[in-house]
Symmetry: C2
Subunit: 505 residues, 2 copies
């Protein structure tokens, strides 16, 4: 059903963000043509359907039909996919979502669920003329309880808005993302978003206490527990976390939110070997213990390239590896003493050769830039292949020299960086011309390498439209078959986010 | 199919542990008679089946058939249920589990999965002649990786054994249970066990990274990710966590295990009002932040009764409420300074009136006894009704005076205690004779009260054999229907742990 060669080609396109983002909407190729996707057996929207949607939705401004209004809902943030949806519906309540889906299911109208549209795998916009169900008007905060550390809100709430409201009560969201000004909490759950607080506060399967979801047939499933402990039957909510809108539409969320820390330290360390990286990480976990919040690896190529791109100078001598550590806590002096002891020990033991530490916000920002701007630096090339992998720590970095050996002489840079605290490596390969030779030297090698270590070929980005073909590298045939079985009973007509997540064969 | 009146009666029996545990095995009434359960449409074991099991299992001591050997596998720890299983199988590998289930599924032989047998809801032993699948020989630790904080082991590993092995590398399990000397990690996952570390390290949905499970038809589903981040398709492992063996047999586990803390402080505080309890808990979260590990509530009745039962004296004056706090961390002086500041603040603000603090292991043990021995103290009565509820913190304690008003004059004690840090209240009602009047005044009032606050009627104990009838108080009809649908596709012949978890009507 889908042309594999074209998907591979698109994967490369995906990452030429700097070039792509300059495209005008009409210049983005239609997804269906670009990926050679065949339309599923769905009905097409009629005037009668529009009339029905008008009856369901309480006010007029909840339906968009004019092409100039719907265009933005048909292209993704990175402008590498474009759909043909002609109807945008903006429900204001769970009841409206339910009525829309019940109707669409009977009519066999496919539905694409639209959140903050910040996904990177093309999962958030239609492929053909799916009805676009935008959650943006379901943006009410229901309650914030500082005693139990509980947030209850609707799915369309923007992450940064939630963070703002929580901060008024001395709380924070357990997740933080670069896209927080746009992304919605419902989409965060649907894609099981990771982010830079994951090492400290765990993933969404731990911090989501409850959710409400609407199944394809319009049935509302209320799984809105407000409690960390609730052993009454199967734990259904987890089916919807990470299912990318293909099993149900998340309409409401209850989350456990921690007390906001009041102190922050950032440390940049230079290390001579990968073994020293491992030892230092272990020591940081032991000595910084409960205040350790982030542990990021940056290799020499990444740092040098980024420093050059930012037109700045490196705050530290040249080393094969760098570790960027962040601590957050509640007592300034205690934290500083812990950090001091850790640094003293690491220097004495010879694990670390050089380092910088700061607790000043402006300097913290500058140090974090060295990590956060690596993607932008590599994207400034004509092409940039990027991979989002989970790998065992022992072999965490070995893919980078292996790839460098294969294609280093054909490209401008091969670099590795990422969340070593979460075993999550980003591998970027950037250059002038993406030749067939380079492509063949990199893929499927990267995926096979990852699969051989039982790693994940999509650590935090998800599957969406672009990666169903790669799922097999991280999931067994039996597991994929069970996923398909679940999809078939929960959405027998396949109306929810078609063409996404599940492989076609 | 099941007689509701009898279930209610049994719930009361369940909690007369001190009396029940004195029973000889043959004195325990047969579950099927006591609860009026009708046998499902399963085949009965034949000699031919035994021959087949002998072919599947590699050594002779993996099959028990003599009644004196199988008796212990037919009664639960608390001796309130008894089954009629005649065959105990002890597989040594996933392949053997797979072969057994494949055969049983074809033959329509029902299977009861047996772990450490420490469950409190009768879920761990057969009701009729189900084949008993004991996981005890699958007890190998596959690997412990201190760098990524990862434990990989088989499902039959005993929790305390895992804790011992991890401690050699400076790590701990993210969960701790009173039953740790017997309970198995596979059973912990199957029942989504909670325990006293949950407030600090979160629940198993967060800390289990991967698992391997065998479906009813013998198919092995390998979901053995070793990583915190893996967004490649539906997150299937969570379906098996908390499903109490009714969807698949967990055979292997990968867990994220934290670095072991090296410091410990325990604080007992006396408080005059429930509002002061709430304020103190909030302040503890803010000031003790990342080192706060446990926060337990004890009411006056609980403490006085326990002190009397232990034949000791209270280390603190009489107060309506007590809070027991534990901190664990990595720096003794830092922790003590944090605790000192917190206590100073709480006393100055008038939230706390009196308190004791210790970091001496022997004294820590004594303080914890005041919380841990409350159940034993109340069980020393002729009867003790106990409820394991999740409730919103604002109304957390209100059920206790409400019940006291209803039945206080008819019983010896009504008391409330529990994990306020997790919103988990234990309500115990104990006395001499459990009259029909008392029963009617307590039930269904407790469940209806909990349901009206959207609480959980089984916070950490699960459903098992005894609580399917109560699930409706915490789960909607639509959610229960979806659970049944999942069961029907994953175990169409219903051979896995029949008569348990799912309500019959």
């Amino acid at each position: 059903m889908m042309n594999t060669t074209k998907i591979f080609a698109s994967m490369r396109l995906l990452h030429r963000i700097s070039k792509l983002s300059e495209r005008k909407i009409h210049e983005i190729p239609l997804t269906k043509d670009h990926y050679g996707i065949k339309r599923g057996p769905y009905a097409s929207v009629t005037d009668q359907d529009i009339n029905q949607f008008e009856r369901i939705l309480s006010t007029n401004n909840q339906i968009l039909l004019r092409p100039e209004d719907t265009a933005e809902y048909n292209r993704d943030y990175f402008r590498y996919v474009r759909g043909l949806g002609t109807v945008v519906l903006k429900p204001r309540s769970t009841e409206e979502v339910s009525a829309i889906l019940r109707y669409c299911n009977i009519r066999r109208l496919a539905v694409s669920i639209f959140g903050g549209n910040t996904g990177v795998c093309g999962g958030s916009v239609p492929v053909f003329d799916e009805i676009i169900l935008s959650m943006e008007l379901m943006n009410r905060i229901v309650s914030i309880d500082e005693y139990s550390g509980l947030l209850v809100c609707e799915a369309g709430c923007v992450l940064a808005k939630l963070e703002d409201e929580l901060s008024k009560k001395g709380m924070i969201m357990p997740l933080d993302l670069g896209s927080k000004q746009s992304c919605q909490i419902g989409g965060n759950l649907a894609t099981n978003a990771g982010g830079i607080r994951l090492m400290r506060y765990g993933n969404l399967h731990g911090s989501v206490l409850g959710l409400e979801t609407v199944l394809a047939n319009g049935e509302v499933i209320d799984l809105m527990s407000n409690f960390k402990k609730d052993n009454t039957g199967y734990h259904l909510k987890h089916l919807f976390i990470g299912s990318e809108g293909t099993l149900g539409v998340i309409t409401r969320v209850a989350m456990s939110c921690p007390v906001a820390p009041t102190t922050q330290n950032v440390i940049l360390l230079g290390l001579k070997t990968y073994n020293a990286v491992l030892q230092t990480f272990l020591q940081a976990k032991k000595q910084l213990g409960e205040i350790l919040t982030s542990c990021e690896l940056i290799d020499q190529a990444s740092l040098e390239y980024t420093v050059e791109h930012l037109k700045t100078s490196s705050p530290i001598d040249a080393f094969p590896f760098y570790i960027l550590l962040e601590t957050t806590g509640s007592h300034k002096e205690d934290d500083e003493e812990k950090v001091r002891q850790f640094l003293e020990f690491s220097l004495e033991e010879g694990m670390v050769t050089d380092g910088i530490i700061t607790s000043e916000p402006s300097k913290i920002k500058k140090l974090w830039q060295l990590r956060e701007r690596i993607p932008a630096a590599t994207y400034s090339n004509n092409f940039c292949l990027t991979y989002d992998l989970s790998l065992p720590l022992e072999q965490f970095y070995s893919i980078v020299p292996a790839i460098r050996k294969r294609v280093g002489h054909l490209v401008n840079i091969v670099c590795g960086f990422g969340h070593i605290g979460d075993c999550n490596l980003h591998l970027n390969i950037a250059g002038n011309i993406l030749s067939e030779e380079i492509r063949k030297l990199v893929e499927p090698y990267v995926y096979e390498f990852t699969a051989s270590l039982k790693g994940s070929v999509s650590a935090e980005h998800g599957i969406g439209l672009l990666k169903p073909g790669y799922m097999k590298y991280s999931k067994s045939t039996a597991a994929i078959a069970l996923m398909k079985q679940l999809k078939s009973i929960m959405d027998p007509n396949g109306i929810l986010n078609p063409y996404k997540v599940l492989p076609y064969n």
